[in-house]
Amino acid sequence: MLTASCSEPGTPPDTEIAAELRALRAVLVQQQKNSAGAQPTVPSVADRGQITTALQPLREVLDGLAESQRELHARQVTLTQEMQRWSQLLVETATGARQEEAKAMTQRLQQLEKTLQEQDKRHREVEALMQGALERTADRLEDFLRRVEGTVRREQPAVPAGTPANTAPIKNEAEPAPGSNGVPAGGSPQPATGGGEENESGSAGGVAAVHPPRQWSVYWWMLPFVLAASLGTAFLLRLRRLSNRSFVAAAARTGPEHVESPLTRDLDGVQEIWAAAALLSETVDRLKQTSASQVKPPSPPPPVAAAADGVDLAEVSVLGDDRSKRVVPPAPAAPEPAAAKPVQETATTKPAQEPAATRPAPARAGLGTANPPRNTAVRCRIPGAGAQAQGELLRLLADDPRVLRRPEPVMTTTTTAVEVAFDVLPGLPASERSQIEQRLRDAVS
């Protein structure tokens, strides 16, 4: 207004008002003609500019948030890499013998965990800030829409003239957010008509008197349109956040190369930090378990294998002891199958020269078949024999030439006695068998 008044000091005010009224009439006539043909479905250039101007604070807030998120992402990536290196070092150290370094790294891990917690708090604060900014932006949009409604009603005659007179009310009424730029004061052109808010009280009455009330009803669609636009913008922002979260989840599964938006990358960095924190906690648990296992005595072996085999545990242990204590005669150097054939050959060469009692037994089946009962087998139960007596019993049986070395004597220990099974020479009298058994009993008692 001042600039306009200064640029044209010699223009009389009556002339200006008359010219403005003429221009407004011309515009109204033109709009009536246009509205008589068809209703416009898209907003005019001035409306777009107003919407853009209205969304400008939100855009700037979002840009600021994106920038801060980029910085946070860079810091998080660096922190994540450091934590991964520490985790690897801890895992390697946990398996080694460097306990002191492990303790130092454990302390460092605790510090990193604290840092992570602080970082998490900051992230929550940022999210709260974003929520607040969005809410404030929505409020401003509503205010803007209200003002636009009122401004259009008042400034509608000046819009078709091609002058940017519609920006002046926004400048004067819209309160820019602290830190936001708002509408630039110097860059906005001054309305040529001089019809601003400062002259609202003076010129509005004249305009209202000129325009009939029914002409404002032409712009009734502006209100639902702007409301729909604001709601759509808010919905799009909400959708963007949700899609970013989904992208983060997808990136956690497929890798970070599929993430596109900066906000998605930021959230992905957050996820990486949380994953690294989980890895760190797991490593710390391992370290704790390792230290605890070094202090704890060795746990007894689980009895699952013995139970799975269906064998009594006592028998298994006794058999194991028997194997360790069993006195094995010196093994001959001859393999058994090769050694058996010449004897058979010898026997077949002169079958009539040997008595039937000394003939070798018929060939048996191979492995996996039960041996047929031999009449030379002796089984005796020796009560009161303990584990120490088994060695003595085995020694007696090994020293007795009447007892076969193969198959070896077998001892089975029960809770009350030891059962001994062995073989003796064929044709051994029963008295000698009993004498062998008695020797075993005497050795125990």
């Binding site: 001959p332 054939k341 050959e345 009692a357 003939r359 076969l404 198959p407 073989d423």
Partner: protein, 215 residues
């Protein structure tokens, strides 16, 4: 008390008088027959273990201590590793322990084995394929006779390898009979054995009649 240091095949054990004893030393063992009230007592010891037997004998008949051949086939494990090239031959002597047995000879009746005292060197085994057998170690001697305090039989063996592969037998199978045991130069010998390597085992030819083969 009678003392018999030699190792004859058959030793007649005289009946000791009541309260008396007869002592025999077949090889490294010691055998004492005592006449006690109600019967006879036989005490046997090999230096490590001792066994006591109670015998009820008749006045008619005689009691002998005989060295008998093992009743089961014997697998002789040589202390020397034997290798025969294709077409090669090897001669030597093996020693197989004999089993001192107390035999009762009844007038006009077959002998009866009362007690067998198998030596420790004879380890009895039972195999799934071949049944019962003895296993004993021995060196492959090159000279005859060889001195031994144990009751054993000397078995001349001739090993040949007619196959096209090198023979390295794990053992030498033998089967002795009581009838072929004979005394020669203060030892007990048997007829020589000729064994042919037929691939993974030895096959025995018919023994030659007469004295042992001089290597």
């Amino acid at each position: 008390m009678d003392h018999s240091p030699d190792l004859p095949l058959i030793v007649v054990i005289p009946r000791p008088e009541r309260g008396g004893s007869v002592r025999l030393q077949p090889g490294g063992c010691e055998l004492v027959l005592e006449s006690v009230r109600g019967g006879y007592a036989l005490l046997w010891s090999d230096g490590r273990t001792s066994r006591r037997f109670a015998l009820g004998l008749l006045d008619e008949g005689r009691l002998t201590l005989e060295l008998r051949a093992p009743r089961l086939p014997v697998r002789v494990i040589t202390r020397d590793v034997i290798s025969l090239v294709p077409g090669g031959r090897l001669r030597g002597y093996l020693q197989v322990p004999l089993v001192p047995s107390l035999v009762w000879h009844r007038d006009g009746g077959p002998p009866s084995i009362l007690i067998e005292l198998p030596p420790r060197e004879l380890a009895a085994e039972w195999d799934d394929r071949e049944g019962h057998s003895f296993r004993c170690p021995s060196s492959l001697h090159a000279r005859f006779p060889m001195r031994s305090n144990e009751p054993c039989a000397v078995v001349p063996v001739v090993l040949s390898n007619p196959s096209t592969t090198v023979a390295s037998p794990p053992h030498i199978p033998l089967q002795l009979r009581d009838a072929e045991l004979s005394e020669l130069r203060s030892t007990v010998v048997v007829k020589p054995r000729r064994l042919r390597w037929v691939g993974e085992r030895f096959a025995m030819d018919a023994p030659r009649d007469g004295v042992p083969v001089q290597p």
